[in-house]
Amino acid sequence: MTIEQAIALAPAERAVNLIGSDLTEKSLKLHLEGLSGVDAVGLEQRAAGLGTRSIKTTSKAWALDTIIKLIDLTTLEGADTPGKVRSLAAKAVLPDPSDASTPQVAAVCVYGDMVPYAADALGSAWSNGADNGINVAAVATAFPSGRSSLAIKIADTKEAVANGADEIDMVIDRGAFLSGKYGVVFDQIVAVKEACRRDDGTYAHLKVILETGELNTYDNVRKASWLSILAGGDFIKTSTGKVSPAATLPVTLLMLEVVRDWHLLTGEKIGVKPAGGIRSSKDAIKYLVTVAETVGEEWLQPHLFRFGASSLLNDVLLQRQKLTTGHYSGPDYVTID
């Protein structure tokens, strides 16, 4: 056993409370390795079982509205322009111009340099750090790969926060995680969390993206989820959307189980955000069922659960129109973005 693992880690509050004040790479590693294993077959079977719930009539209407309220309407393309972001923000405010009863989405999620345009376009609908209104979320820390120095990741984050981002979606260093350097991953999250601090002492909400498609095993997902929470994440998020597979129901179920266990242990509520690959209302409803039956219905609120999605909203709007009018319309009856 090498002594080098006795390197002290940043004293993040949750980790110190749980593991002790002598927080080191070694003690963190032992803690993570003490977590219960995950049986892949059983986990997938449970997720499939939850997916067979049949959500009809009034439950379906409630579910569709709830999905909209939980969406982080996202555009993360190299080709993004201020115009595209403005158009997206307009859709976030008024998802369905033909039906004013349609709720607004939770947030608009963009690259850091697009934050000012998003905030500006949201106008009075922008929450700007308050509890109501639409948030602006920015991906940061050399999204999506996370392959840059910590200094750059911190600068990236600070800039987005200074521009007005209410939420930061950071990526973990998967390379460090897979090579067993849990302390590196931990310290980076702690540092980025600190970079989320605004001048007035409040913090932008931190979502930690695990990129589960690259972690590959469910045991890794459980460890990375637990690690991210220990380091101070407000949300744990499955994926960047740039790697396949992105969000899956079993992975999300597993992360919800971690969040449930954390709540049982500490009383603290952590959010979960599946992102990427959820395109249909039918799929999204399976996620709602999974949340409700795993951590409880209370989690079906924007500060505890989000969908990272772009095309999902349109399918939900079509389903919603079907419920109201009794017949299906078509893709030309909802806006592209």
């Binding site: 294993g37 049986d39 986990l43 959500i55 219905e297 500060h303």
Partner: protein, 503 residues
Amino acid sequence: MTENDTAVSAKAPSFLDYAPAPESTSVLHLKKHYGLFIDGEFVDGRGDAFTTISPATEKEIASISNANNADVDAAVAAARKAYDRTWSKLSGADRGKYLFRIARLVQERARELAVAESLDNGKPIKESRDVDVPLVAAWFFYYAGWADKLDYAGLGPNPQSLGVAAQVIPWNFPLLMLAWKIAPALAAGNTVVIKPAETTPLSAMIFAEILQQADLPQGVVNIVTGAGDTGQALVNHPDVNKVAFTGSTGVGRAIAKSVAGTGKKVTLELGGKAANIVFDDAPIDQAIEGIVNGIFFNQGHVCCAGSRLLVQENIHDEVVDRLKARLATLRLGDPLDKNTDIGAINSKAQLDRIRELSNIGESEGAERWTADCAIPENGFWFAPTIFTNVSTSSRIAREEVFGPVLSVLTFRTPAEAIAKANNTPYGLSAGIWSDKGSRILAVADKLRAGVIWANTFNRFDPASPFGGYKESGYGREGGRHGLAAYLESAGWAAPAVTKGGKK
């Protein structure tokens, strides 16, 4: 973190009270009365007809003929005639064609069969739809494939069919047990007289229609309905060559006595009191699911149910707490609602037995916990129940409850777990939960149970043999081993069977 949490849950009705999602019964075209299925035709029984009810509502579904001794004689005679003149003369490939045809028809009429099963038995539609009926089709497909390959069944070249098989099946998986019995019997070249359980004859009647649709030669499968005396007449009939029974150990013992010395070949699949062993390194969330699936699947009406939970002492409290939290999310109610997890208890008699044993458990000092769920007014219901502080000598830890009742016991070491698991007159199944493969193999090796599941429970496959040790019966069903119950090696047994059969 903002805490405006309670506002939302207070105003709207709970999302978890999912709106009703009943499966439509319009696919069913039930008759008011069903006769016996003898020689390819529905005929009226000579006994007094009885009614079958839905255990969820106690409403009558249909009236069913009751077969008396003369009817059983007629059914066995039809099976004998079909065996001698048709079925034993067909090639294996041709028998396989009929079985494939039956399998496909089961798939085509899957929804109808699932609805009928849930209506008559009380099991949730999600189980009849996703487990029972797909497995029924799988069983026929599997044994259809064996029909022309019997030389490779491990019984030597050219193994011989037995003749007429008398089969008596229980009410917990009415159609699946029928498939487990009929598919291997027909594949091996036997003809069949089968008696479904008195409380659950409905799906067998629809299956008879499927046999007509499949053009199965007359008399190859005969279905006689009735109660215990019909079953008795059937297994004691002098012209049957094989008896296959699934049900209680008491009845199994009586059958074994009555056929002793007759030369009839017998397989018995009887009761169980399976241990589900959870080690402290188990994948905990999946273990909880496995425990739930082990004992609350099909309302616990499963002979291989994991009714004794053996938990390592150091994780006992955590497991019990998590289990209770999980059970609180189970939905008890209308079996035909697609969101129902726990359906109705099959009969008043069974409900009384579950109540009686549960009361005994309580009076013997075990601590009772019952999930808080609304019980419908009519019908037979029993909420999921856990007993903790159960001693090994308690009756709920030793007797088969056959209901949604779990007894929790603890152990400290693997040796103690093995000793406690084996300390039962039964030996049908067991479960092991551990993240450590070597431990699973070492423990499995020492458990005296016919089926052992590792990190799962209550999974079935037609390729896998199923059967018990000790008072759980003898013989195996499923897989290559299941064929041995319906075949004799060409070398030695044929004369004895003919002698016994033709008397």
